[in-house]
Point group: C2
Chain length 197, copies 2
């Protein structure tokens, strides 16, 4: 099983982190992102969206970090990481949407601007960050984990770009419960770091 990867990508890190936490062996294939390798064949044929990560497991080819987490959890991990009952699965799915939208277009995009010079609207990314972080804080004031009362792929999907928010000029200082949650994740057995986290 191959993960086409960029070490500085929080989206790739979601997958590396979960694979490490769940003990799933994945071969990391570094991609020459600055050289545009993901925009050319053969990678663009695996993912026409021209994005990383990409997971290839035999016949299975997947784009989108959230979908890759779903696949790895459902195929290879203990059911605790993605509950099989409808209510538990949907509770996790709520946070996968949050990771795909609010976190991606908030703190993750602020970081893309500051760290990599992407031509995005910084004020918009800060507005979105200022909305999602208090919602996360309020949730984590009452819960140790995002869903199901224990670590799930929801935590793996949301954690990276929240923990990297400082690289986009977004301070976590006001959010003490969010910081405590980051600390809990960092103490999970098998936790894997990335630069900036």
């Amino acid at each position: 099983m191959k993960l086409y990867d960029l070490v500085l990508s929080g989206n790739c890190y979601k997958v590396r982190l979960f694979a490490a936490l769940a003990g799933i062996p994945v071969e990391i294939v570094p991609v020459d992102f600055l050289g545009g390798e993901h925009k050319r064949s053969p990678l663009i044929d695996l993912n026409p969206w021209g994005e990383l990560p990409i997971l290839v497991d035999g016949e299975v080819v997947l784009r989108d970090s959230q979908a890759i987490l779903v696949y790895l959890a459902q195929q290879y991990a203990d059911a605790a990481w993605l509950p099989r009952d409808a209510a538990g699965m949907a509770e996790v799915a709520q946070w996968l949407s949050t990771a795909a939208n609010e976190v991606q277009n908030g703190p993750a995009s602020a970081r893309l601007i500051d760290k990599f010079g992407y031509p995005l609207d910084k004020a918009d990314t800060l507005r979105r960050s200022a909305r999602i972080l208090p919602l996360l804080e309020a949730h984590l004031r009452r819960h140790d984990w995002l869903a199901a009362g224990h670590p799930t792929i929801a935590d793996c999907a949301v954690f990276p770009y929240v923990a990297l928010a400082h690289e986009g000029g977004v301070a976590l200082a006001p959010y003490t419960h969010l910081q405590a949650w980051i600390g809990r994740i960092k103490h999970l057995p098998g936790f894997l770091e990335m630069p900036g986290v």
Copy 2:
């Protein structure tokens, strides 16, 4: 089972549409959106995000239209709508992320500006639309349905705001395969309309 609903919301329509297609009885509870009912108790206690739809099924309370589709499919529908195997489920999950991010921030947000006067960046929504619609078109050139070779909740999640794109000034004329897919969805048994679709 209650769906707190706004008839003009494409996100609410995702749920109404899927419930109709899968024959799941849901009690529709209209919300006074313009009056801000969703921003006050008791609705804000059900969904601190202050958004619709909200689903309440006994003890289960869910925000986020994608997560609600996952719940209804897993709990009440034939497995065809959300495959239970890891590869099929992840294939669907890819498109749930697309609905939550690229479609929401592209055509759906263009419509929010034109139809409801939201203070968003129109140029940004058009740029995002101009990226996602050709990707959808290319996919639908080779597939009749978004995932799994048959209708799934992926189609229900992506369809509404694509079919409503004209209300945000986004023309679908260049996308013939996408139009054909819209036609296929409209011919599914049990299909439900909404204003503008």
